[in-house]
Symmetry: C2
Subunit: 215 residues, 2 copies
Amino acid sequence: MPPRIKSEQDREKLRASILDAARTLFAERGIDAVSMREIAKKINYSATTLYHHFADKEALLQAVCDEDFLKLANGMHQVMLLPDLVARIQALGKGYAMFALQHPNHYRLMFMTPRAPCNPDITRIQQGNTEQDAYAQLKLVVRDAFEAGLFRPELSDSELIAQTIWAGIHGVCSLQIALGQEGWIQWVDIEARLQLMQSAMLQGILRHPATANNI
Amino acid sequence: MPPRIKSEQDREKLRASILDAARTLFAERGIDAVSMREIAKKINYSATTLYHHFADKEALLQAVCDEDFLKLANGMHQVMLLPDLVARIQALGKGYAMFALQHPNHYRLMFMTPRAPCNPDITRIQQGNTEQDAYAQLKLVVRDAFEAGLFRPELSDSELIAQTIWAGIHGVCSLQIALGQEGWIQWVDIEARLQLMQSAMLQGILRHPATANNI
DNA sequence: GGTGTTAAATTAACGACGTTAACTAATATA
DNA sequence: TATATTAGTTAACGTCGTTAATTTAACACC
């Protein structure tokens, strides 16, 4: 039997250890393959205890993802200091891809697993807040570049541009995570795939593509 | 109690109706949300009967996917008759995307789920066979276009180009499948996202991008 | 020190799941 | 007609997410 909790601080500590155990197991074996009982056993509690901290499995999963989203957005924030707008977009893509490839299992939970629409009652992330939401950061830079007239004149929607850039990087990363180990595809080096995706997309989107050559 | 089966033909008919019921339910509500009992009830059989035709749920799912992917590759095969190489690449991408968006749950299993990829022990698809494998078809067209000198001179690896095109389309589709219902992203129309991805990538890759404008 | 009160944790249970064993009834074959 | 095979069933096992009922420990107060 685990020790009783006394202070509010201890309660928070237990909550954090549940999150840690859940994240590890989810990342190791996938969401459906991990039971609430298993998570509880990992920290020497009974399964019911988890329900005193999270409404259900879905809420626990959402909390795990929230933490990862914040971690990702934090890393991106430094990139935003770069002066050149195109360089900023490139660095955002590179940083995003590095996060995805270095934390493939978290990335899978965050961006490759369909879930019930994000319920504002259970997520604590403030979507749209650039300090907590990596996509909001990309949107911001792309809008700045759009207003600076850096994109081709026929492109009239900066949100569409941001979503396309995101999709391109995500496509390379998620294919690598999902099928990178498959023997029947002769995968080219992942760095080369990322680089070609970046440069091809920028060449296709920028008004003066020359600026995209130096990566 | 359903009628007894007499001939081998009837047996095959039952197998097909199991596949149909499973496909419908999987596509409607997702794989994990559908039980074997439910599939069986839909065709007025007991759950056990399914196990006389498929080893387990995984095998049933794989059989459903096999059928659909053969259908995909078949549809692609007609596209290969188009005379213009660039138009062929564009049509391949469009067909691939339509398949992904119309069968999101099957697409998710084949291309978005690591560790449960196309298992050669249970799949009957022959990877690399252009009649059964859509990626092999893309590779073929891209190599033809490469040898025809359609790509930028600095691009020296046709497999890298094929993988990048695949990643771009896959990125749009898989983001839509995984996060398309998320309210916190103001998604632009999926058709527009696909079109920009196609045209931007082609503009970035082709030697004479003008050919990519007419979609 | 005893006595409630309350919060934290537990055990036990429910209904649904995938799957399997044991069984039944109908057909085919001899 | 007797027997073997086959297609289908029911019943059961162990696990799952989740909840109700219950126990246990720490604290406040007399």
